[in-house]
Symmetry: C2
Subunit: 151 residues, 2 copies
C-alpha cells in the first residue's frame, strides 16, 4: 500500500505555498521548479483541489495559484481525501441479509476501524504545523552542519 505521486506532489506543493502569506499568488513555475513536478501534471493535480476550495487560481499575466484557506485549516487528510481513492472495505463473506442491513463480516468492521484511525491521524497534521516543523528542522540542520565544520 502506497500513496501515489499525485498525493505526494499535492502535499509538497501545498507545503511550499504555505511559506507565503495566504492568498498571495505563487507562480506555477516556482512550484514546479522547487517541487520537481511538470507544469502539466501539477495543473492536473490541482484541479480537484481548486474545486474543493483549498486552492484558488488566477489567469492572465502574473497569474498562478494561491491558498484559499489558512494553512492551519488544511490538513494532510484534506489532500489525501481528494487525491486518493477511499480505503477499500472488503465485501462481506455473508451478504444480502433479508431482514437487516447490518454487516456480518467481521473483517468489514475491522477495516472501517482502521480507516477511521488513519483519518484521525492524518487530520493531526495541518500545514501550519508542517511548515513550522520544516523551518525548525532547517535551523537545526544548519547548526549541526556548523558544528561538524568545526570538527
Amino acid at each position: 500500500m502506497i500513496i501515489t505521486r499525485a498525493t505526494e506532489y499535492a502535499i509538497r506543493a501545498v507545503l511550499y505555498m504555505s511559506r507565503f502569506p495566504t492568498g498571495d499568488i505563487v507562480l506555477k513555475k516556482d512550484i514546479c521548479r522547487t517541487q520537481d513536478v511538470t507544469p502539466a501534471f501539477l495543473t492536473k493535480i490541482f484541479q480537484p483541489m481548486i474545486k474543493e476550495g483549498i486552492i484558488g487560481s488566477q489567469r492572465g499575466v502574473g497569474g498562478g495559484f494561491y491558498l484559499k484557506k489558512e494553512p492551519k485549516h488544511i490538513t494532510l487528510y484534506d489532500i489525501f481525501e481528494i487525491q486518493e481513492d477511499p480505503l477499500y472495505l472488503n465485501k462481506c463473506l455473508i451478504e444480502e441479509g433479508n431482514c437487516a442491513r447490518d454487516t456480518y463480516c467481521p473483517v468489514h468492521s475491522a477495516w472501517e476501524n482502521v480507516r477511521e484511525k488513519m483519518i484521525d491521524q492524518l487530520r493531526l497534521y495541518d500545514f501550519a504545523r508542517l511548515a513550522a516543523e520544516e523551518k525548525e528542522n532547517i535551523q537545526k540542520r544548519i547548526q549541526t552542519r556548523n558544528n561538524c565544520a568545526q570538527d
Copy 2:
C-alpha cells in the same frame, strides 16, 4: 488507497481456515469454492504466507493447506504485511545532510506516524477474534430473520 484483491482473498482464506482446528488440512477446492478465488491464484497468494510460516502445505493425495499458527496468534497485520507493499514514505524535500541522517521533511515523519498507528490497529484483530465475531454475527442474523418471518 485500497487493499488488493490478493490481500482480501488471503484474509478471507485464513478466516475460513480458522474455523477448523489448527493443523487440520483444508482442501484447496473448499477454500476456493467458499471464498470465490481461482485455485491458481490462491496458490500464488499462499506462497509467501507459507514461507512466512503462517500456513503449511501438504502434497500428494489428501493434500492441501493448514494453519501453522493458532488463529489467536495471526493478526490482520501479519497478512497485510505479507501481501501489501509498505506504506510509501515520501522523499524529503531537503535531503542528504552531511552531518546527520535525521529527516528534515516534516511530511516524512507524519507518514511514519500514520503508518505506525495503522499497524497498531491491524494488530488488534487476530483471527480467533474475527472467527468468533463471525460466528456471533451469523447467530444474530438467524434470529433477526426468524423475527422477520413472524411479521
